[in-house]
Every structure is written in C-alpha cells, then in structure tokens.
Amino acid sequence: MVKYTLKRILLIIPVCLGIAFIIFAIMNLTPGDPARIILGQSATAEAVEQLREELHLNDPFFKRFIDYLGDIITKGDFGNSYRTSKPVLNEILNRFPVSLKLAICGMITSCIFGIPLGILAAVKQYSKLDSIVSVLSMTIVAMPAFWVAMVLIVIFSLKLGILPASGAVGWKCYILPSITLMLANGCSVLRITRSTMLDTIRMDYVRTARAKGVPEPRIVFKHSLQNALLPIITTVGTIFGSLLGGAIVCETVFSMPGLGSLIVLSIKSKDTPMVTGSIIFLAMCYSIIMLVVDLLYAVFDPRIKARYKNS
C-alpha cells in the first residue's frame, strides 16, 4: 500500500511539470507585446523596451520557463499581475475558498441527486420510473449550465424574489449555484450509479443472498451498492476536480468572486501572469484530486491492495 501510494505521488511530479509547461507555452503564444499592453499605446518605444527587460521578456523561451518554474517551486511565486501589480498567488488564494466551497456544494448536491435516483432506476429497471429517469437525465445533460442558471435566476430571484441572484455572502448565495451544478453534473453520477448497480445486481453473490432470504434493502445497499461504489467514487472525484475549474460559467452567471471569474476577468484584461498562474493552479488541483481518487480506489478495492501487499 505504501509502495503504491509513493509510486502514485512520484508520478504526479512529471505530470505537474508537463501541465505547467503546456500552459506556459500556450499562454506565450498570445499575440501582442505584454509590455505594450501594460503601458498602453501612448508609451514610448524606450519605455516599452525597458519594461520588456524588467519582465525578462527578451530572454529565450526556455530560460523564461525555467525561471518561472524555479520561482514557483522555491518561493511559491507565480509572478505579479499586470493588472494590479500584486502577487498572483495572493489573489488566487483569496479567491480559492469561494471556488472550493462551490465545488464541494456542487459535488454534494450531485451525489444527493444522482445516487438515490440511480439506485432506484436500477432496482426498478424497465419500469416507468426507470424510463422517466433516463429521459430526464438525457434532457438535463443537454442543458447548458449557464442557461439553467439564468432560468433559475429568473424564477427564484426575479419572479419569486426568495433567493439572491449574485454574490457569495452567506449560505443563501450558494443555493442556486449548487442547484445549477447539481443538474449539470448529477446526471453523470446518476448514469454511472444506474449502470454499475445493474452490473452488480446481476452477480451471482446477489442471487445467493436473495436465495438465502436476505432482506431486499440489505441486498441493495450492502451487496450491490457497496460493490458498485468504485466507479461512482471515480466519477464523483472527476466531477469535483473539474468543478474547481469548470464552474467558471456558473461563477460568471452568479457573479461569484471565485477563481473562475478571476480567470475570465484576467483573460479580458490580457493579464497573462494571472491567467497562466490560475490555470496552472487549477490543473494541479485537478491532478491532485485525481491522485486522491486513485488512492481511495486502492483503499476500497481489496484487489489493488492485495496486488501491492505482496510486492
């Protein structure tokens, strides 16, 4: 187990370096001179040149990347924002709690929505309920999150006036975004729950349990669900990871001061260090969450545990 964990943790290092390189390279394709953007069109050529020198923009690409990476690793320094001239990391950490809270809320509501409905649909396969659930989930999957958010705002904030439409102050602000994320992601939890439950429900040990006279709820929750948990955990983990960065649209619609809206704002103001920094930060969070999911997998799956115990 220790060996497996170590191996997985070590594997994450090249992945993170790779991510940083890819994003740094893409962001450096940006047309236009950053120094010119900071100083504006009226600045003299000398001033621009001086700033280029200060920002090390004249260095070769690989040297800049190594310097950038070195600063991140040794000092946790993602550079300074062009827009506010403050350290990028401070801004990211200021905004991160909102995104994190939102992602957690979204993950929990997705589970509350998806798992019970998935179990129900699987237990009552081919029933009316099953077909209603599948039609519903197909339709909801096709809905763009921002549209759902707008419809929710119109109904609950503008017409009924019971929930706030924007901001991130107090728990009430998280209700509509959570519902949006629930609808956007709950369906994949539902689908995976239903299909894995259907797989396990047909297993021999479930038939044996039934023949033994084990009560039905125990068969469903103990024998089937527990064995169906692994794929569900993976899906939920993936959702959580992508919610951290993927709730961009949701944050924009509800004007929540999270990382997603920071990225959008920074892209619009051509604040390259901020965009690069926050995207690298998010992608690394995603990789770390995937690592945790993998480790959870090993904890829950005795087969993986057994494979590494002997070696």
Partner: protein, 332 residues
C-alpha cells in the same frame, strides 16, 4: 458486402437458412429461391431472418428499433434542416438589421420569438445560429478526430517508444480538464469562431487519440487480420479492408457524442465572451447579451437555450443509439 448488394432486388425477401453460408453460395441460392417461394405470409417472414441485409441494413434495422435514437435522429434532422435552409425559413438581412422602433417586442405573430435590445428578430437569429453551432460542432469534432486519429494510429502502428512518448504526452494533456484547456487556448489566440474550433479540436484531441489507438490495437491483433496477412493481402488492403472497418465503430460513436459536448462548450465559451463574437447570432453569445435584460424581458433567454438543448440532445441520443447498434455484443 459488395456481392450482397449486387443481387439485391427490392421487394424480394429470401430466407436465411444458415448463418454459415458463404456469400457466393448465397447468391446462387438467391436466384433459385427468389422465384420458387412466396413470402406474402407474414408469419413465414418473421420466422426467417432477412437474407441480404448486409452490414448497413442490419445496422439500420437495429437503429430503427431504438426509440430514443429515432427521436434523436428526428431532432437532428430538424436542426440540420434549420441550418441548411436558414435563408429560406428566414430573411438573412434580419440577422443583423437593427430597428430601434421594434425593440423588446414580446413574442407575437410577426416576431415569433420576440425581438432583442437592438430590435433584431430573435427567431431569425436563432435559426441562423443553428448554422454556426452545427458548423462548430462538426468541424471541431473532425479536427479532433483527424489530429487524434493521426497520433493514435501512429502510436498503435509503431508501438514501443513512439507509443509511449505519444501516449504519455496525451495523458499529460488529459490532466487538464477539456473546458479549461479550450479556455486557455482561446485566451491565448483571442476569441473568434476559428480559434474556438482550433481550441475545441485540440482540447478533445487526446481522448480521440486514446480511443483510436485502443481500437486499432484491439483489431490488429485479431485472427482475421493474421489470416489476411497469411493469405498474402497487401498492407494497404489489410488496413483499409480489415482494420479500419472493424475499428471504426467506437470512433464513430465517440465522434457523434463529442459533437454534443463541443457544442455545449462552444456555447459556454461564447457566453463568457471567449468564443464567437457579436453580432454573429451564436446561441451562447445571444444568451450572454440577453442576460442583462432578463429581468424585464425573460422571453429573450428561452429560445436560444431550447435550441442548444435540442441540438446537444439529438447528437447525444444518436450517439447512444449508434453505440448500441454497432456493439457486436448486443447483436440480435
């Protein structure tokens, strides 16, 4: 398959006595039986499976049985119809024509979906928007398929370190969520329709590379490929006649399903201002503009959203249907 199509005559149905009958023998039987038997009896026809159905016919029969897939196909036809005949259904002039005298008109006979803040007819814009979305979805999926197919087939063909190198690179790209990746690329290149297509194509490429590689690998190890090789078939013939047709189905399914995801991502990116730019009638961009007016004029947000749903739903349903119809495990 060619020989089977060759003898097909509409209206005659031939019983299938054995699945093992070789194609050439079947043709002979065809000609003997086609005049000798009368299949007006429905029960008889049910008892015999259709003879010359060929791969395509069999596939179509199974797809037709799938109600969800048929609904999806009808919806897809509807969207494609809107996209192809947009200029017949609505007047192209009205897409960008502004008229201050008819701002914020609620849906009525003249303006089916109402008008927006510039007095533009929302119905016309929504109809023309289908062109943009369909074009983005299809071209982005083809880009991803071409790039992914290129890398995936090289990886599976050369194997060894080439395979390792390409696939580790793809894993690394996959470690970044697709939406975030697309956003990064659009942020670097600037928001426009072409850049959006490039961004979507690149960010979905790794999953295509992976599926192309795995399906090519699973097929190239099959016995019938070895048989063809032993038989002396030239390499191109093996690739085009044996490997590609048999490796194609998971790739086709993935392409169809990812079109839905790409259309949704494209709409989201346009919504946050990173995709198709105004005044183009892209649905996401339209909703983004309508956001400011939704307090007073909520009708503005309904139809662009409904059309996005119909489009994404249709591609998802058809993709699922294709998956079920092409899955050899589910035969019969």
């Amino acid at each position: 398959m060619r020989s089977l199509i060759h003898v097909s005559r509409p209206g005659t149905r031939i019983p299938d006595h054995s699945d093992q009958i070789h194609g050439r023998e079947r043709i002979l039987m065809n000609d003997q039986i086609s005049t000798g038997l009368d299949f007006t009896n429905i029960e008889d026809m049910d008892n015999f499976t259709l003879k010359r159905k060929g791969k395509l016919k069999e596939f179509w029969r199974r797809l037709r049985k799938n109600r969800a897939a048929m609904v999806g196909l009808i919806l897809m036809m509807f969207i494609l119809f809107c996209a192809l005949f947009a200029n017949v259904i609505a007047d192209k002039e009205l897409v960008t024509k502004q008229d201050a005298s008819i701002r914020y008109v609620s849906p009525c006979r003249e303006h089916l979906f109402g008008t927006d803040e510039f007095g533009r007819d929302i119905f016309t814009r929504v109809i023309f928007g289908s062109r943009i979305s369909v074009v983005i979805g299809v071209t982005a999926a083809s880009t991803a398929l071409l790039l992914g197919g290129f890398f995936g087939s090289i990886a599976s063909f050369y194997g060894k370190w080439v395979d390792d190198l390409i696939m580790r690179l793809m894993d690394m790209l996959m470690a970044i969520p697709a939406t975030l990746m697309a956003l990064t690329i659009v942020a670097a290149l600037g928001g426009s329709t072409v850049n959006l297509i490039i961004a979507l194509g690149l960010s979905y490429m790794p999953s295509f590379a992976r599926i192309v590689r795995s399906s090519m690998m699973s097929v190239s190890g099959m016995e019938y490929v070895d048989a063809a090789r032993a038989y002396g078939s030239p390499n191109p013939r093996i690739i085009f006649k044996e490997i590609i047709p048999n490796a194609a189905s998971p790739i086709i399914v993935q392409t169809t399903q990812s079109i839905a995801g790409m259309i949704l991502t494209a709409a989201s990116l346009s919504f946050i201002g990173m995709g198709v730019q105004a005044p183009n009638p892209e649905w996401g961009a339209m909703l983004s503009a309508a956001r400011e007016y939704m307090r007073q004029y909520p009708y503005m947000i309904i139809w662009p959203g409904v059309f996005i749903i119909i489009t994404a739903l249709s591609f998802n349903l058809v993709g699922d249907g294709l998956r079920d119809a092409l899955d050899p495990k589910l035969k019969k």
